[in-house]
């Protein structure tokens, strides 16, 4: 450790304490994220209770095949992420980079499929606003689409941020910044990525699977 500067910040006693603080800090942020998305879920729940038929009917406009594929893609990206964290715990530099790059690719596949879905919705005139295609009784469904775009949009934004952060961590890992003693940044990036996965785990049934039968 003579040439490489120690990763230990001066205000911590040792790396274990630093790691514990890093992890707890990320969890604290994720708790605020639970409540951020919680507000959206609560709004969704209330409007769905008030307009059950409109929500069930509107859900049929979503592509269940693309939604299911995207769920699988995101779960796979969580697996590659956790494998990347494991590689960091074991100090396997090359493996960290490979698994993090795989995670980025899967994240981009998810966003690509999402973009295809949004494009379809645009052409069908299902974006809430002046050009909304459903009129008369069906116009009620605009409430569902408002929540659909807000919730999946915020989720997609978190994915974009995640992809950028994983990219940065992959770069630092390639430069050899992490070791089995110091891999906190890889670990907490994983926590963030899995949290975004969990949000989708709830969004998928609530938006795509509602009123399918």
């Amino acid at each position: 450790m003579s040439e490489v500067p120690s990763p230990l910040a001066h205000h911590f006693d040792d790396l274990t304490q630093q790691k514990e603080a890093t992890t707890l800090g990320m969890w604290t942020f994720l708790v605020t994220e639970i409540l951020f998305f919680g507000g959206l879920f609560a709004g969704y729940a209330q409007y769905r209770t008030l307009y059950p038929q409109a929500f069930a009917a509107a859900s049929h406009h979503l592509d269940i095949v693309l939604g299911t594929i995207n769920t699988a893609v995101l779960i796979a990206s969580s697996l590659t992420m956790v494998m990347g964290v494991r590689a960091a715990q074991l100090g396997r530099r090359k493996q960290i980079v490979i698994f993090l790059l795989l995670t980025i690719v899967l994240g981009l596949v998810f966003l690509g499929i999402k973009a295809v879905e949004y494009t379809h919705k645009y052409h069908e005139g299902l974006i809430p606003g002046p050009g909304f295609a459903l009129q008369g009784e069906e116009r009620m469904q605009v409430r569902f689409f408002a929540f659909y775009f807000l919730m999946t949009g915020m989720h997609a934004l978190h994915m974009v941020v995640g992809v950028v952060i994983v990219g940065m961590i992959a770069f630092f890992a390639w430069r050899g910044r992490y070791s089995p003693e110091y891999y906190g940044p890889v670990d907490v990036t994983g926590l963030y990525w899995h949290f975004v996965d969990i949000v989708w785990i709830f969004l998928f049934p609530l938006l795509y699977l509602l009123g399918r039968h």
């Binding site: 994720l30 708790v31 605020t32 639970i34 209330q46 697996l79 785990i201 699977l209």
Partner: protein
């Protein structure tokens, strides 16, 4: 602390379980279970989220302090949902005042 290195086997098993539950929740969505549909869909989602939390996010091997933080977040979210539904469900219990425009 997540110093604990979890065997690759466990991660593959969790991954397979998550995919299986995704398949089940899609299949069940096509059955007509009435109001139970939402209950089943959300139960499967909670199960999947728990697997991700415990294994992918290493919560099972994390400190008690981490559990308290996570629990706090979930508890506060449940307060939000509980009070919201208490409001929505109790609407119309008391007749509105004369000329008062009440949302449904």
């Amino acid at each position: 602390m997540s110093e604990h290195v979890i065997p690759v086997r466990t991660y593959y098993a969790v991954f397979a379980a998550l995919l299986a539950f995704t398949g089940i929740t899609v299949a069940v969505a096509f059955l007509d279970l009435g109001p139970l549909s939402t209950v089943v869909a959300l139960s499967i989602a909670v199960l999947k989220a728990t697997l991700v939390l415990l294994y992918f996010m290493h919560l099972r091997y994390s400190s008690k302090l981490t559990w308290i933080f996570v629990g706090t977040g979930i508890f506060w979210f449940l307060i939000l949902i509980a009070f919201l539904f208490a409001d929505v469900a109790s609407r119309g219990w008391i007749p509105p005042a004369e000329g008062w425009n009440v949302p449904r």
